[in-house]
Symmetry: C2
Subunit: 332 residues, 2 copies
């Protein structure tokens, strides 16, 4: 019996423990397992509140001989910053030993939600963007824009970035910060149309409810990571973009209900059969990734529970090795 108490990890500790490179490798690993049919289908549960909502993602994963369960409860309240000076997304991850149910850790979910999503963008770009991709457009210059660019810079030789945000202060701050941090040219742009046409990779990570990226803006060969849409109301891509371009999703069931895909399905422009692959199938080599320099490939990212499980397990194991966090015994 292991009965060491429950490890509590706050946001700053999680941020220090979860390195992006390690998270990209871990997330790639779990997508591969999923593609090989070795990961049980994850679960998702939503509860609406007046000014926002709660969603729970839960899943199970074997890692290094241990099996972990993680359930992430995230609150998403769009007006939080202005009304309450609280983050838009807040939450907690419960990590359990899946051999006996013991809650081994409780940790803040904010950093994991951000980083594991960025890591999926990196994994997708590694398999779906042209190898020599060097120019990137980013729509949405918040936390997710930052981590997406950092992840892309880990997997592709990024040299030039165009940053767009409806709030121009945000895009300027983003350009200043990220150019310094990554040592590449990052430019804030007011009208993204021309920049997207020059880009090898385009990431959309906004809270938009109306699409803003359409067919005319996208050059042949572009890889598009559509990250923002993660509920039924959000939308970033013109549904026409999904017609006759290669669609890869993180999890078909989720993309078909809460991703950009679902708008195209709703309009009858595509069917589920038009989806080329789930990302895990590509990573596992069961489906092809990019097969030409010209094809436009769209990755519809909605965020899968197994990304949370693996990231939480990585954080927990490093915390235990390095003696971080606070032990609290809930069952006294």
């Amino acid at each position: 019996m292991r009965r060491e108490g429950t490890l509590l990890l706050k946001r700053s500790e999680v941020a220090a423990l979860l390195r992006l490179e390690e998270c990209i490798e871990a997330v790639e690993h779990v997508f591969r397992l999923h593609g090989e049919g070795k990961v049980a289908p994850p679960g998702i549960l939503g509860v609406h509140a007046r000014d926002g909502g709660f969603h729970i993602k839960a899943g199970l994963l074997e890692m290094g001989g241990r099996t972990y369960f993680a359930g992430k409860t995230n609150a998403n309240f769009p007006h939080n910053m202005k009304r309450h000076a609280l983050p838009l997304i807040q939450g907690v991850i419960v990590l359990c030993d899946a051999s006996n149910g013991y809650p081994v850790a409780l940790m803040d979910s904010i950093e994991i939600s951000i980083i594991r999503t960025g890591a999926a963008t990196g994994v997708a770009a590694r398999h779906l963007a042209r190898a020599n991709s060097s120019v990137v457009s980013i729509f949405g210059c918040g936390n997710q824009g930052r981590i997406s660019l950092r992840a892309l810079a880990k997997v592709r030789p990024i040299k030039r970035v165009f940053a767009f945000d409806r709030d121009e202060d945000e895009s300027r701050r983003f350009a200043h910060e990220l150019s310094g941090e990554l040592g590449i040219e990052v430019t804030a742009v007011a009208d993204p149309a021309q920049s997207v046409l020059q880009s090898d990779i385009c990431v959309t990570c906004t809270p938009s409810k109306q699409y803003f990226l359409n067919r005319d803006m996208v050059a042949p060969g572009t890889f598009i990571a559509a990250v923002g849409a993660d509920n039924e109301d959000k939308q970033e891509l013109d549904p026409q973009l999904l017609v006759s371009n290669k669609i890869v999703v993180d999890l078909l069931e989720q993309s078909a209900t809460i991703g950009d895909l679902h708008h195209a399905l709703d309009k009858g422009l595509v069917t589920r059969a038009d989806v080329h692959a789930e990302l895990g199938e590509v990573v596992a080599g069961r489906k092809t990734g990019r097969t030409s320099e010209e094809e436009i490939i769209i990755f519809d990212s909605t965020g899968v529970a197994f990304q949370d499980v693996v990231a939480a397990a990585v954080v927990y194991e490093r915390a235990m090795r390095e003696g971080r966090g606070t032990i609290f015994d809930f069952v006294e």
Copy 2:
């Protein structure tokens, strides 16, 4: 902005803060709200593990001007005690302010799961058992047997109790403890058939996967609380018992899938239309409760998320008033 950190409450603190009387009233209140259509449908999510499973129940509730969200993650590992010296059920409740998503408390779920279930049995008995009910049979002499009897003793003039458990040591210990605590006659019985026939109320709260209570054992007028079955494999009542007796469920959707009801539905012995009411409808006065001294009424209890939300909110509010628990800031 309220930003007081997250309150951590361990099992012993929750046990001290959640009084049964108060929990019965709170649970009755939330069932009434549900019966009045004022509670949003709760959500439930299950994840299977090799030796057990995890289930998450989540819901939203307004209480005293504040709106709370609670998500309960419970691990259920039947062999835990023997293999790991850990409880069969373990878990954590995340309680959030539903106006902004802030996680106001994290608390051990064990006591809440036990007490809110016993409280529902009490509420159901108050509305469905004969007013002069004084003789009780209890099947299953664990934690749930104890709290069921305590709850019944709060709402009905209980004088005599028959206790049955497959482990006779358990039923003897139960009889000894509860007779002392409640000052009533509690007898361990080896063969429950005769005792049930003499009983006004019968509670089944076992982990059984095969039914053991059948029509011949139950006298007219009995109130049966079927508490044990809370997943698709568990069963306590002969499906024939549900035929032509009054069935009240806590939540139709759950009883039809994980309660004793679902076995009778599967066999085609009853339909959903044969269910008389959800408990909340009876509490709210929208459906009748007991209408004769002779009818047998069965309450199929599966455990609803809003019971957890209200119990967690009661615990949290008392903890804040009394200055209990430990504050931990996850978002530093």
